[in-house]
């Protein structure tokens, strides 16, 4: 592993996607849990727990997409065109999610609100699932042509392993979202969601073990770097410890620390994914030589340099005011006249 600009950008894209997973992960998870709450009051609290921050969270995906376009145009082009219908479905899910949050509480009608509740929840689950399925396909590998195109359509993507990764993603985001809800709410709702957490953790661990097992058994290309640099085994090891820490913190009522553990677990998962893929970005199977990697899919060194300068100027500022916004809206959700 040499630290060239291509590697730096591989890591930076990973940072953007990790930021997206951590941040939009919890609000997608809140969406997945939304229908399991019963009263209108609880549902308003659910939506308003993510109210001020959800669209900022989604910007991480948009910027991640833009950065991928700029730094690795061929990865952007191949994945988005190759996964055409899957990405269209994701886009529609994101549209319905955004509008559901905005529109739901605008009218008192119960039917109106129920319709948007379903829309919010289903679109959150579908978004998480599709993101996971896309990642799963990238890991397992898709048949790329010599020109680096995937011609297989939607059916070629709905295979067992990617679907397992998709379900794992839903489970991860739901667990993450539940911890967030416990942190942001009080009273009855908090008590109930707190009771769900052990089960959600169990489901996630089951999915995680399955995914890991399948990867170890069937995706040897994902483990070569790990075996070449055994020191890297510290990443999965830490991951196990961090996930195990979540129920402990919840048990002691330290929701913020539980949430931080969940965030760290996600970063480590992304790191593991990155270590496994490096230097490939879309693995080609069966013809591995057609894989798109950080060199054959990259933009010019000049663009990598300029974009690095832009990122180094821009991202610290972004992080600074994102932290400020979270700080301003810290504490339990209170419904007031400005709420959704």
């Amino acid at each position: 592993m040499s630290l060239d600009l291509n590697t730096v950008w591989f890591v930076l894209i990973g940072v953007l996607l990790s930021g997206y997973a951590i941040l939009d992960g919890f609000d997608l998870g809140v969406g997945a849990l939304h229908l399991f709450t019963k009263t209108d009051g609880d549902r308003r609290v659910m939506i308003n727990s993510i109210g001020p921050v959800w669209d900022g969270n989604e910007v991480w995906l948009v910027t991640g997409g833009g950065a991928l376009f700029a730094a690795f145009p061929d990865v952007y082009a191949t994945s988005f065109s190759g996964f055409y219908l899957a990405f269209m479905l994701l886009l529609f899910a994101l549209i319905f999610r955004a509008t559901a949050i905005e529109f739901r509480s605008k009218r008192p009608s119960q039917r109106w609100r129920k319709a948007w509740d379903v829309s919010f929840s289903v679109s959150s689950i579908v978004s998480s699932l599709l993101i996971g399925v896309a990642l799963g396909n990238v890991v397992q590998g898709i048949p790329l042509t010599a020109e680096g195109e995937y011609m297989g359509g939607l059916r070629g993507l709905l295979r067992p392993f990617p679907l397992v990764v998709g379900i794992t993603t839903v489970a991860l985001f739901t667990m993450h979202g539940a911890i967030y809800v416990v942190m942001k709410t009080e009273g009855d709702l908090q008590v109930r969601v707190r009771r769900w957490i052990p089960r959600l953790i169990a489901i996630f661990v089951l999915c995680y073990v399955t995914t890991t097992g399948l990867t170890l058994a069937f995706m040897p290309h994902m483990t070569t770097t790990l075996f070449d640099y055994p020191l890297l085994f510290v990443v999965p090891l830490l991951n196990v410890l961090v996930v195990a820490n979540i129920p402990r913190e919840v048990h002691h009522g330290r929701e913020f620390r539980a949430f931080l553990s969940s965030c760290v677990a996600m970063v480590l998962l992304m790191a593991l994914f990155g270590i496994g893929m490096y230097p490939d970005m879309i693995y080609s199977s069966p013809i591995a030589e057609h894989s798109l990697n950080i060199y054959n899919a990259a933009s010019s060194a000049k663009t990598h340099q300029i974009m690095l300068i832009i990122a180094l100027i821009g991202m610290p500022i972004v992080v600074a005011y994102t932290v400020s916004v979270y700080w301003i809206f810290r504490g339990k959700v209170k419904i007031d006249e400005n709420s959704y």
């Binding site: 001020p52 910007v59 082009a77 400005n338």
Partner: protein
């Protein structure tokens, strides 16, 4: 229909629908800064209520802009993969910069703008309002940079790759400040300011006609009308300079704007007309020599016409001609409406002149239509190129996407966007009916 025309229709439809919202965010964002600034300076509660009402409208518009904007970020990859590979080095960089410098700024501070009234000090809230407005303006800069590079590429060289070429960056600043960027960004800004100003004018004039919220409506009109007048008049200036750039760098597009066919002859300016593309003739009322005079300062100077280009290198003429002329016509009408309204306001007659108030109610459609038509003439006029003189639109498509897939997504976009539009108009109307009265907003919210 083949995949090219379907992908073009889908891109045109989704960008046109998206572009209903950002111009209002940009224009209204600026007005919010003025309104809240006036409140902080004067301490007058009226401006506080005014800001809070328009912030709610802003929130709705912004949400639709976000929901439809994500589609645009990814559609280059889904439908225009070959284009993405060709321009990623430059075009992708502009989009990424937009995310880092604009989207984060807007969405981060939007939280404070919408939900932070009781959480931060008034001055901090005002800062958030300024940041949201700045973010909206920055966003326009980067997207116009990206688009202008398609129109007048600069700061690049072609590098062989696979069977073909791709454009790679040689100078960041030359690419960003390509020949058309500055004129087009100012033209886009004025269109955005008009969209925001005429929205506020429309709603406020409606209140006066309905005999409601007098103080609020009058004060809103005074602020919005100033911006409407400035933006409408300056739009003439930026429009002219944009056209000059087109004349210099995209002569085929300029010839299509005016339906000018003769390869090299003095050209007139049509007030109204119809283009027969097969016959290569334009019929209508024109001022002879006017186009030559506007470009070269000499009514007898020759202007390059469409016949100077091979038929395969020409844009569709009549649609460009009509959209361009409709845009100019609407622009002139908006100047007239602004000047007239200011005169009536000057003589203390505007608020009682019902016909003019009705004109203002419907004038909100003017900037919307002109913005759409302007982009239509700019983008259709760029055809058959996706990057002017470098890459043809037909060579920019995704190799792996089939017509049936695009048809599916196109139909879905049609249905979903129709639903969104109906809901947007319905909810906007609800907000307007509720009005700026704080207590009624509160009741509506907690119902």
């Amino acid at each position: 229909m083949d995949v090219e025309i379907l992908s073009r229709i889908q891109f045109a439809a989704t960008i046109a629908f998206h572009y209903i919202f950002p111009p209002m965010s940009v224009g209204l964002g600026l007005l919010l800064v003025i309104m809240e600034g006036t409140y902080l300076k004067t301490g007058n509660e009226l401006y506080h209520r005014m800001t809070r009402f328009w912030v709610k409208v802003f929130g709705l518009i912004f949400a639709l802009g976000v929901a439809t904007g994500i589609v645009m970020e990814f559609q280059f990859g889904t439908n225009w993969a070959a284009y993405s590979r060709y321009v990623g080095d430059i075009f992708g960089a502009a989009l990424a910069a937009e995310g880092i410098f604009a989207f984060f700024l807007e969405s981060g501070f939007l939280a404070i703008l919408l939900f932070g009234w009781d959480k931060v000090k008034p001055r901090t809230h005002f800062l958030a309002t300024i940041m949201v407005a700045l973010g909206a303006h920055f966003s326009a800069i980067w997207i116009v940079v990206a688009n202008s590079w398609q129109q007048t590429p600069a700061g690049y060289h072609l590098v062989a790759r696979g069977d073909g070429f791709r454009a790679e960056l040689t100078s960041f600043w030359e690419a960003v400040l390509n020949p058309s960027t500055l004129d087009r960004i100012s033209h886009v800004y004025m269109g955005c300011w008009q969209a925001g100003a005429f929205l506020v004018l429309s709603v406020s004039a409606f209140y006066l006609i309905k005999n409601k919220h007098h103080e609020f409506a009058k004060a809103s009109i005074k602020i919005a009308l100033s911006l409407a007048l400035i933006a409408s008049v300056l739009q003439l200036v930026t429009g002219h300079s944009s056209a000059e750039v087109v004349a210099e760098h995209q002569p085929a597009k300029l010839a299509a704007y005016e339906g000018h066919f003769d390869a090299s002859a003095p050209a007139g300016l049509y007030l109204i007309g119809w283009v027969n593309e097969d016959a290569g003739r334009t019929y209508g009322i024109k001022i002879p020599g006017m186009l030559s005079w506007m470009i070269h300062g000499d009514a007898s100077a020759p202007v390059t016409g469409l016949n100077a280009f091979a038929p395969k290198d020409r844009p569709p003429v009549n649609i460009v001609f009509q959209s361009y002329h409709a845009m100019v016509g609407i622009g002139m009408t908006l100047i007239l409406i602004s000047v007239l309204s200011v005169l009536y306001l000057w003589r203390n007659k505007l608020f009682q002149t019902r016909w003019l108030l009705w004109v203002l109610v419907f004038a909100v459609l003017g900037p919307q239509l002109a913005n759409q038509l302007g982009w239509m003439s700019a983008e259709v006029g760029r055809q058959p190129w996706i990057v002017y003189n470098l890459l043809r639109t037909s060579d920019g498509l995704s190799a792996s996407v089939r017509a049936s897939q695009v048809l599916t997504s196109l139909i879905l976009f049609g249905l979903v966007y129709l639903l969104l539009f109906v809901l947007f108009v319905y909810l906007l109307n609800e907000k307007i009916q509720h009005g700026p009265d704080d207590s009624s907003i509160r009741e509506g919210k907690l119902a």
